[in-house]
């Protein structure tokens, strides 16, 4: 087990109302090299869990352990190692990349901060290698992000996260802002990276079809609680909880025959 989250709870201040409790007693674990999907509707707490896993926010109760490090209280060398080995990719590649930095600076920043490559030439070589790996042209290293499309920007964001060889990549809706024809490129890239680098991926998404495609294990969240978790087959082929069942039944299928049959069946069920 690489990371474990034990009974965490988190509230956000909502003055003048009482604090809003967004996570209640959430427990889950992440194994080396596995892709795990956190799914749920808006307000289910999936992004809050991702932020807790990245130590961007602190839960009020419970514990988060990453490879022997107490994440919530980590300091010094432990915290630096945690920050190096757990990386993130955000939803909006337009907002998450500094427009004043070149691609080389963006991708190489982690190498510089963690002092992984002592010389500029060595950093440049690592950046070039990484760009090639995610399907970017290393000759574009000196360009700024404004001239890249959404899909290419998300590749830059992924390269920037992976260049320091993390063991966990937390992705919060990484394809939600992309066009349909480009989504598949980024999903395939994440899948490829997971296999090649033995990377654990925590994939936060509301699109259940994408999660089914990418993740081997699924955690279903509702109102800050884990409703059900299990393997892809358990969740998608044989969901146990009524909430999971209703969530899956509502996903539209891009096939008129299957899609219409599913909708008709579900409407009949709600009518009875």
């Amino acid at each position: 087990m690489l990371m474990s989250i034990d009974s965490i709870a988190k509230s956000y201040n909502a003055f003048p109302n009482p604090p809003a409790k967004v996570l209640h007693d959430v427990t889950l674990k992440v194994d080396t090299g596995e892709a795990i999907g956190l799914v749920g509707e808006s307000g289910s707490g999936k992004s809050t869990i991702a932020k807790c896993m990245l130590a961007l926010i602190r839960p009020e109760a419970g514990a988060i352990t990453y490879d022997g490090i107490d994440v919530i209280h980590a300091k010094g060398e432990d915290l630096r190692r945690f920050r190096r080995e757990v990386q993130m990719v955000f939803q909006d590649p337009y907002g998450s990349l500094n427009p004043r930095m070149t691609v080389e600076e963006l991708i190489g920043e982690g190498l510089l901060i963690h002092k992984l490559e002592p010389t500029a030439a060595a950093r440049r070589a690592r950046v070039a290698e990484m760009m090639e790996m995610v399907g970017l042209n290393p000759n574009d290293m000196d360009r700024y992000t404004r001239s890249f499309s959404g899909g290419q920007r998300q590749r830059i964001a992924i390269a920037r996260a992976l260049v320091i060889r993390p063991r966990i990549l937390v992705c919060d809706e990484p394809v939600a802002a992309l066009d349909v024809s480009v989504q598949a490129q980024v999903i395939n890239l994440l899948q490829d990276m997971q296999r090649k680098l033995n990377l654990a991926i925590v994939f936060v998404a509301h699109d259940l079809a994408v999660v089914r495609h990418l993740c081997e294990r699924i955690v279903v969240l509702h109102k800050g609680k884990v409703v059900e978790q299990g393997t892809r087959e358990q969740i998608f082929d044989n969901p146990q909880m009524p909430y999971t069942q209703s969530l899956l039944a509502a996903v539209p299928v891009p096939d008129p025959v299957v899609g219409r049959a599913r909708r008709a069946a579900r409407r009949l069920e709600t009518a009875n």
Partner: protein, 348 residues
């Protein structure tokens, strides 16, 4: 070789329906700053929508799908429109602003993606729904009565009590019902829905789609549904038009387009979407990205990303031609001889 009719024959696409809207060579140019130059976002679009027909308009960001729909209502003041938009015998592009204003809400209505930014937070739900009618001179009591009836029709619980509630007291799905009520209270014949369910959770999206389904069937309301979600298209629409780079590249019945897409872009889109009901090893990914409107490639705008291109594709722009029951803009289907014969390939 399949039979190809050189002239687009629209009656073949919607054989049983009276056309409600007929769009002919519509172009939309948007000005670039104050320079006086402009960029052509919608580049000559022809289609028609039958009475009570549900048509989905699919495309990626920048494909021109929203601007096409907005042009039908002449919503963008800065946009320069040309061509014809024939609605029930009148050319909307020739109407005065005043006459166009009368038509909005009563003949053609529109709902948008984000219900919260569309609703006025300081106005009650009842007043907002009734506003369309009040503007047309309907009395206060009568307008309120009709607003109530529409909210009821759309399944807003305890509608009578909630007429005096404010938008913040409603959930996302309920707000989308209110927005729909605002659009429907004037009894339009065409509803343009611009990504109305994109911001909603799947279970709420499903309810809103059911609602639209019922309303459209009950009222004989034509719906132009703009979306990028092929799942929504498959479940809701009867016909689908696929836009790419400012043009329609395929237009046909939903069942036949999904079963046998003709345009390589449509084929790619359908293969690129992961499905909840089956496992795939790797997703098909269309290489590259859609071209920006200022840098459209020569010939077919899709050719740099197309896996079936041949020598003519980077030279001539393919016209939208009748192919079987669909219309397709692709040199593979224009009936002329070429070196490759992808018609013979097995499956799509």
């Amino acid at each position: 070789m399949r039979t190809v009719h050189p002239m687009p024959d629209q009656s073949a696409v919607t054989p049983l329906r009276q056309p409600l809207v007929t769009v002919d060579k519509l172009t939309v140019d948007m000005p670039l700053g104050r320079s006086g130059s402009s960029v052509r976002i919608v580049d000559g679009v022809d289609f028609s929508i039958g009475v009570g027909e549900r048509v989905a308009l699919v495309g990626e960001s920048g494909s021109g799908k929203s601007l096409t729909a907005r042009a039908l209502m002449r919503l963008d003041r800065l946009a320069r429109l040309s061509g014809r938009v024939d609605f029930d015998g009148t050319d909307l592009l020739k109407l005065s602003d005043r006459d166009m204003g009368r038509l909005r809400g009563s003949s053609i209505a529109m709902v948008f993606q984000d219900p919260m930014s569309f609703l006025d937070p300081l106005m009650t739900i009842g007043d907002q729904v009734a506003e369309t009618l009040r503007i047309r001179g309907v009395g206060k009591a009568e307008a309120r009565k009709r607003a109530l009836a529409v909210l009821d029709e759309l399944g807003v619980d305890r509608a009578a009590e909630r007429l005096d509630a404010y938008p913040h007291e409603f959930s996302g799905g309920m707000r989308q019902r209110v927005v729909l009520a605002m659009a429907l209270v004037g009894e339009p014949r065409l509803l343009i829905a611009d990504e109305p369910t994109t911001a909603l959770d799947v279970r709420v999206q499903d309810q809103v789609l059911d609602l639209l389904d019922d309303v459209s069937a009950r009222r004989g309301l034509a719906v132009l549904f703009i979306t990028h979600d092929l799942g929504v298209v498959a479940g809701f629409a009867e016909r689908v038009m696929v836009m790419y780079s400012g043009r329609i590249v395929e237009d046909g019945e939903v069942a036949s387009v999904f079963a046998k897409p003709s345009h390589p872009y449509t084929q790619g889109l359908i293969k690129a979407v992961p499905r909840i009901d089956q496992d795939l090893n790797t997703l098909y990914a269309i290489p590259g990205a859609p071209p920006p409107p200022l840098a459209r490639p020569n010939g077919c705008p899709f050719h740099p990303r197309c896996d079936q291109r041949f020598e003519r594709c980077d030279k001539d722009l393919p016209a939208l031609l009748q192919v079987g029951l669909s219309r397709v803009a692709c040199h593979l289907h224009d009936g002329q001889q070429h070196d490759r014969h992808p018609h013979d390939r097995k499956g799509a």
